[in-house]
Amino acid sequence: MALKKDFVKFDKVDKSYDGKVLVVKDLQLDIEEGEFVTMLGPSGSGKTTCLMMLAGFETPTNGEIYLDGKAISSIPPHKRGIGMVFQNYALFPHMTVYENLAFPLRVRKIPKDEADKKIDKALSMVSLQGFASRMPGQLSGGQQQRVAVARSLVFDPQLVLMDEPLGALDKNLRESMQYEIKHIHENIGVTVVYVTHDQSEALTMSNRIAVFNDGKVQQLSSPDELYEKPVNSFVAEFIGENNTFVGEVSDISGGKCKVKIANTDILANPISVKGKGEKTKISLRPERALINPSDQMDNIHTGKIEEVIYHGDHTRVRINLLGNNQFILKVPNSSANLDIKLGKDIKIGWNSEDARALDPS
């Protein structure tokens, strides 16, 4: 059984609410069958709009969405057979957990004994057996969330959409629910499209992440690639922590470029710069820069420690380096690094291939 490459396909989709501003611009997105794809972006970036178009609650202004090869723009939401988990759970407050789960089965006229089996299975999937007769109001937030997940899966949809489902939970519960949803996805192999503005959530759960900004997908790739190899400065800054230097390319040769920053040249990896004189923004992950660097590193500079924040397992050190006083270092907590003191000058080094020279915006 070959998995379809373009199980869900957004084909040149535009969306505008007021006829003046496009909230989604020329969206091109293919989602593979069985994949867990997260739409990640700041609020107002168009990710929820995309999800709503897929669910059928909004219509594309232009372009077409295909589900399993069929154009679905003219199919009403209740005929799409897409499961959905809402931000505020949207459990029916006047029905018990059992009735909530039975709702999608009843409207599909599934016989009662078969429906009961499916409900049992769905409840055990989210480990909520024995809660069937409770009202949603009697459940905690995490339990309600699990009921919502079970309800979206109980009728065996091919595709499940999740709209910031963990937004209302506290941090610990959110993390355990992330793993739980991830495991459910792995076990039953359903295609999931997940929307969130929480990057760590996206990195934890997804096969692929689509980073949205300004109505456009900035980058669509696997979590590690997204983190390690951001293609533009928005992605670099949005995902994870990031140190940046703004400068001008003074030389480019042999897969490396020289960028002039505060009268000093640093070596960087040219990603989106083509020639001399171009403005660029260099992005460097904090954990790729080291103190007391070895001599093999091709960038070694000296900065002054401006702030030290103790984080338990690591220490964050803010350094004024080459005119950038927001340069952050993460120093692992080990006995060797105890000489970090405020006001001290310190040597910092990194490899040029980790310093990605991106677009200047």
């Binding site: 009403p76 949207a90 999608p104």
Partner: protein
């Protein structure tokens, strides 16, 4: 200080409780003093009048006090034949006293409530009694008018002996105590109150239904429209509240009368012939139309307040789970609005059942309600005890509806805002 701390910390708990009570007492007194004026106001303006109304509706001391000797003499009378001389003499004595006080007119009015025909024979008796000779009052009184020789009139007098009576309540249901002391209905063609009660219920019921049918979509629109439109719509809903009830009713008169705007319009578009304009006022139609319009906000507001709290994602969830828009509405949205429906219906029904001004102005003969009858007895016949009795019957009717509602839906299931 240390002993005080010790006391609070004791494990037997009593000192802690005592000091807690002491600390809370001040707040309780303060809270009570804050509500005391309102409480007093309610007692004076609500409990007293209703108590007085209750008392008035069963009070029948007037006649008892006017004919004390007569009723005493009647105690031994079995009511089969005409009473004997003793009763007549006592009646004469009471009557002379009443004439001296110029109160015989009141007696005639009161006795006339019990049996028609007393007014004229008491007038006649007053004239003739001036020339009565002492002794043998039975013969003399009977000779004044043949009705005085009719045992039924004497029975009617005896029926007024008790200090309290349920007669007004019976009258309110077109029933009375007949000569044999049995409760019977009045003849079919003289029944007026039962028709009015039924009509009141009918009009209140249909007005509630119409209000519900019209208010539900409006409230839904109000709850789902974006703010700038819903505010405008809200003003339209509330606008009637800012206009005098009388003005609103009068404007319906302008609209609905036979030469009115609506009829002109119908004639104008050729829907009805000019010489055959339908009567839309001074009948039930008038009451329905005007009352529905006036009571509509009372249905819209509770519905709106409930619908506002229903998350739009619930309907979406219903649809995404495979329910058609109708199923999603019927299984998800509608059940959640029931508290608002209950509140709105109860409110409109109870208001409609006691409605007065509008039916009085546009209802005509076939569109008036029981409250118009109550007003009639308060203002025209001055039979306040009857008006009180009907008022209390209306009140208990409302309480019964309230109780029924509590049984069926549950009163804690109500939401006014």
């Amino acid at each position: 200080m240390s002993s005080e701390t010790k006391q609070i910390l004791t494990t037997d708990g009593i000192p802690l409780e005592v000091s807690l009570k002491k600390a809370e007492r001040k707040n309780k007194i303060k809270a009570f003093l804050l509500v005391a004026p309102l409480l007093l106001f309610l007692v004076i303006t609500y409990v007293f009048p209703i108590g007085d109304m209750l008392f008035r509706s069963v009070d029948d001391k007037m006649v008892t006090q006017m004919l004390p000797k007569t009723f005493k003499a009647m105690e031994t009378w079995d009511g089969q034949e005409l009473p004997d001389e003793e009763v007549f003499a006592a009646f004469h004595e009471d009557f002379i006293k009443l004439v001296e006080d110029k109160r015989e007119g009141k007696l005639s009015t009161q006795l006339n409530y019990t049996k028609n025909g007393f007014k004229s024979i008491i007038k006649k008796l007053r004239r003739k009694s001036k020339s009565f000779e002492e002794g043998n009052y039975k013969e003399q009184i009977m000779s004044v008018h043949k009705r005085w020789a009719n045992v039924e009139y004497w029975r009617a007098i005896k029926r007024r002996a008790p200090e309290f009576t349920s007669q007004k309540y019976l009258k309110g249901m077109d029933m009375y105590v007949n000569e044999d002391g049995k409760i019977v209905s009045v003849e079919e063609d003289r029944r007026i109150h039962r028709v009015l009660w039924l009509r009141t219920l009918e009009i209140a019921f249909f007005v509630t239904v119409f209000c519900f049918l019209m208010a539900y979509p409006i409230a839904h629109l109000l709850a789902t429209l974006p703010m700038k439109y819903s505010n405008l719509l809200m003003i339209c809903v509330l606008l009637p509240f800012w206009t005098s009830l009388l003005v609103r009713t009068a404007s319906w008169m302008i609209l609905l009368q036979q030469q009115g705007i609506v009829n002109d319009f119908f004639v104008g578009i050729g829907l009805v012939a000019d010489d055959n304009r339908p009567e839309m006022m001074y009948n039930k139609t008038g009451s329905y139309v005007a009352m529905t319009q006036i009571l509509l906000p009372f249905m819209v507001l509770p519905l709106y307040s409930v619908m506002k709290t229903i998350s739009p994602s619930l309907m979406r969830a219903g649809k995404s789970l495979g329910g058609t828009p109708f199923v999603a509405f019927w299984k998800v949205y509608f059940p959640l609005t029931i508290p608002g429906i209950g509140a709105g219906c109860l409110l409109v029904f109870i208001l409609a059942i006691g409605y007065y001004i509008t039916p009085a102005l546009v209802g005509g003969a076939s569109g008036t309600l029981i409250s118009n009858q109550i007003a009639f007895h308060m203002k025209s016949t001055l039979d306040w005890s009857f008006a009180s009795a009907m008022g209390l019957m209306l009140l208990s009717g409302v309480l019964v509806i309230y109780w029924l509602y509590n049984k069926l839906v549950g009163i804690d299931n109500i939401k006014l805002g």
